[in-house]
Amino acid sequence: MLPEAVEAMTAVYAHPGNASSLHGSGRRARRRLEESRESIAAALGARPSEVIFTGGGTEADNLAIKGIYRARRAENAARTRIVVSAVEHHAILDPAQWLADNEGAELVVLPVDVTGVVSPDDLRAELAAHAASTALVSVMWANNEVGAIQPITELAALGVEFGVPVHSDAIQAVGHVAVDFAASGLSALSLAAHKFGGPQGTGALLLRRDVACVPLLHGGGHERDIRSGTQDVAGAVGMATALRISTESMESATTRITRLRDRLLDALLDVPGASVNGPVGALRLPGNAHVTFGDCEGDSLLMLLDANGIECSTGSACTAGVARASHVLLAMGFDMAHARGSLRFSLGATTTDADVDAVAQVIGDVVDRARTAGLVSVRGGVRS
């Protein structure tokens, strides 16, 4: 977490108050909460009333998918289709699948190209044929695994053209690339504080006032009646502080991190049999490096790098309990062997040239060793 965010939250905890209370401490808490809402709205090109605080990004995604689906179907029962990209996070795919299994939704999955990017033409064709029966579209702003930035403005414009709300899971993007909610044309957008130096367990859904959304949590009517529950004032303050700082420093951070990322990619791709996954250049999140090392297993690489003090991940952290081949890489057209040999390195504010040097120094030996292990542990060599 950014030290400024820790400090701001600590100050709130020292003087707790319920933002719904009418007395003095309540008023102070409410002021902090609303200032945070205004600050977040300003940083993201939204109006304060469009900011719905949630308990993290997964809740924001669930609220968008289930809430908008239910509201749209309540208006017109024929709207059963939920259109998502094949590379969405499980926080989108799983609630959409749940609605398909339990509430009569029809899940429509848009393909991606070999770099992980959705084609607006595919969405146009889908909506041209099925707009009347579509409840909503959800396509992430940037992919969490391979860093691919999606053509969100074009996709959102198609939603406007066909009268279908478009949501975007922007959890990987907010704080790292410029995000303007109003200019994007989106109906809803999810963010999570811990992705930009704020606290875990705090997020928000930006939701246009004219987009109906049925609540997941019913109770005291907080957050425009869309998300009941006593507000986490400290979380909101921490998120607002972190977002303000991330936004102010975004330009310099992007330059610095992109340079480090490209240095890291150069070092990784020096290894024989290594290839980058996802787009290159400006269409990629600055802090994302995702590489497949042919003929080895990501879990071996992960362990060997961990032993060298280098932390990276296979798949996405949420599915990393057991290393399953990434649905993102499979959707990009790669086979299981390619997916299993992949590693993601994330770079951020604390990453230095020395960190990149440390990876460059060991990666060759680590890959050699992992290749040997991969060949002995898998029958007939690399599994397919």
Binding site: D299, A307, G321, A323, A373, V376, S377
Partner: protein
């Protein structure tokens, strides 16, 4: 040494890992994901591959302060253990999947990977004593697992560690509690890990299907009942034979023979179960040296019980290293597919495992 600790999520493997740490080794914990159902880690039931077990193992590793990873061996486990288990039952055998898992997964695929990644040894929570390449029964006779480890050859044992083998189970639980391991009072696992319902017959039926056959009297040849497949039967089985009328002599009847080709299950009195000679295939001589001639020993023919003094002779037959075993007294319930494990009795140091083979044939005739 660099030691990879296989952590199932149970108390034994957690204490084994802790003891390896105490011994000064550089220890990394690994939990094997063995379920082929992709959702199992999310929805999982209890068994050695459930979500709770992986979490318990991770929690123990965190308490010990060692790195921990989950490795996916589900495909290998399905091919080498589950499929083989089902195939063996379909062929009228009674396989022991723990043997196969030790032989092909834990001390083969996993150990090979560990060595290739730079580890020197693999530690597990098995109850057996291992020292200088000699595998012996555990101190805790009730918990002894040397039987399911006896399929390991000299090379496999040379890189294994069983830190729990010298301690009775109750003390292992006490030690786990002292160490603050939350699995200290976790119940022992039973049954077959990939059949969490415990209903082996239903599991096999779903995979093998219905292959009807007859239950036939061993003496008269009379057709006593119909059955849905030989996979529902094990040599020595007494219950669930589907026979309505009692035997003429009023004595209990047991499964004495299974013929997968014709689907015939033969039943008879206890005398028909008596076995005097055993032929075992896939012979393993634990020391790495094949004996020059017959060896007097004690043979064990199933995981719990079934012991008899015997003379074991190494032979080569049909191009395979086998063992001919003559029993000094008859055994019952000797089933094809189980292991015949050879021990040299030793009350002080623990019975020494000298070899093993997979039972491929039995005879009720004593060799003269």
């Amino acid at each position: 040494m660099r030691v990879l600790a296989a952590m199932s999520g149970g108390v034994d493997s957690a204490v084994a890992a802790a003891r390896a740490v105490d011994a000064g080794h550089d220890v990394v914990g690994v939990h094997l994901a063995l379920s082929t159902a992709p959702g199992a880690l999310r929805t999982g039931s209890r068994g050695c591959c459930s979500r709770e077990d992986a979490d318990d193992a991770r929690r123990a590793a965190d308490v010990l302060g060692i790195p921990f990873y989950v490795w996916d061996f589900a495909d290998r486990f399905k091919e080498d253990v589950i499929d083989e288990f089902v195939d063996a039952y379909a062929e009228g055998q009674t396989p022991n999947p723990c043997l196969t898992c030790n032989e092909k997964i834990k001390f083969a695929a996993l150990a090979d990977k560990a060595i290739a990644l730079g580890f020197d040894a693999l530690a597990t929570g098995h109850y057996a004593r291992l020292s200088g390449g000699e595998l012996r029964r555990a101190v805790d006779d009730d918990k002894d697992q040397s039987y399911v480890l006896a399929v390991l050859d000299h090379a496999q044992l040379s890189r294994a560690m069983f830190p729990c083998g010298d301690t009775p189970k109750p003390q292992i639980r006490d030690e786990a509690a002292r160490r603050g391991l939350s699995v200290a009072d976790k119940p022992d696992s039973h049954d077959i890990c990939f059949i969490p319902t415990g209903d082996t017959r239903a599991f096999l039926g779903a995979r093998i299907g219905i292959r009807p056959g007859a239950v036939v009297d061993a003496d008269s040849g009379e057709r006593l009942a119909e059955h849905e497949g030989v996979h529902g039967f094990t040599i020595g089985q007494r219950k669930g034979l589907g026979i309505e009328a009692p035997a003429a002599d009023g004595k209990p009847r047991y499964v004495t023979g299974i013929d997968p080709e014709s689907g015939t299950v033969t039943v008879g009195s206890a005398e028909h179960l008596q076995v005097w000679t055993i032929e075992a295939g896939r012979a393993v001589w634990t020391s790495g040296q094949v004996p020059d001639g017959p060896v007097d020993c004690v043979v064990q023919v199933r995981a719990h019980g079934g012991l008899a003094p015997a003379r074991a002779t190494p032979v080569t037959r049909d191009g395979e290293a086998r063992i001919d075993i003559e029993l000094a007294q008859p055994l019952t319930g000797v089933a094809r597919g189980q292991a015949a494990v050879l021990y040299l009795p030793d009350e002080d140091a623990g019975d020494l495992v000298i070899g093993s083979g997979r039972i491929i044939g039995t005879s009720s005739l004593a060799k003269v």
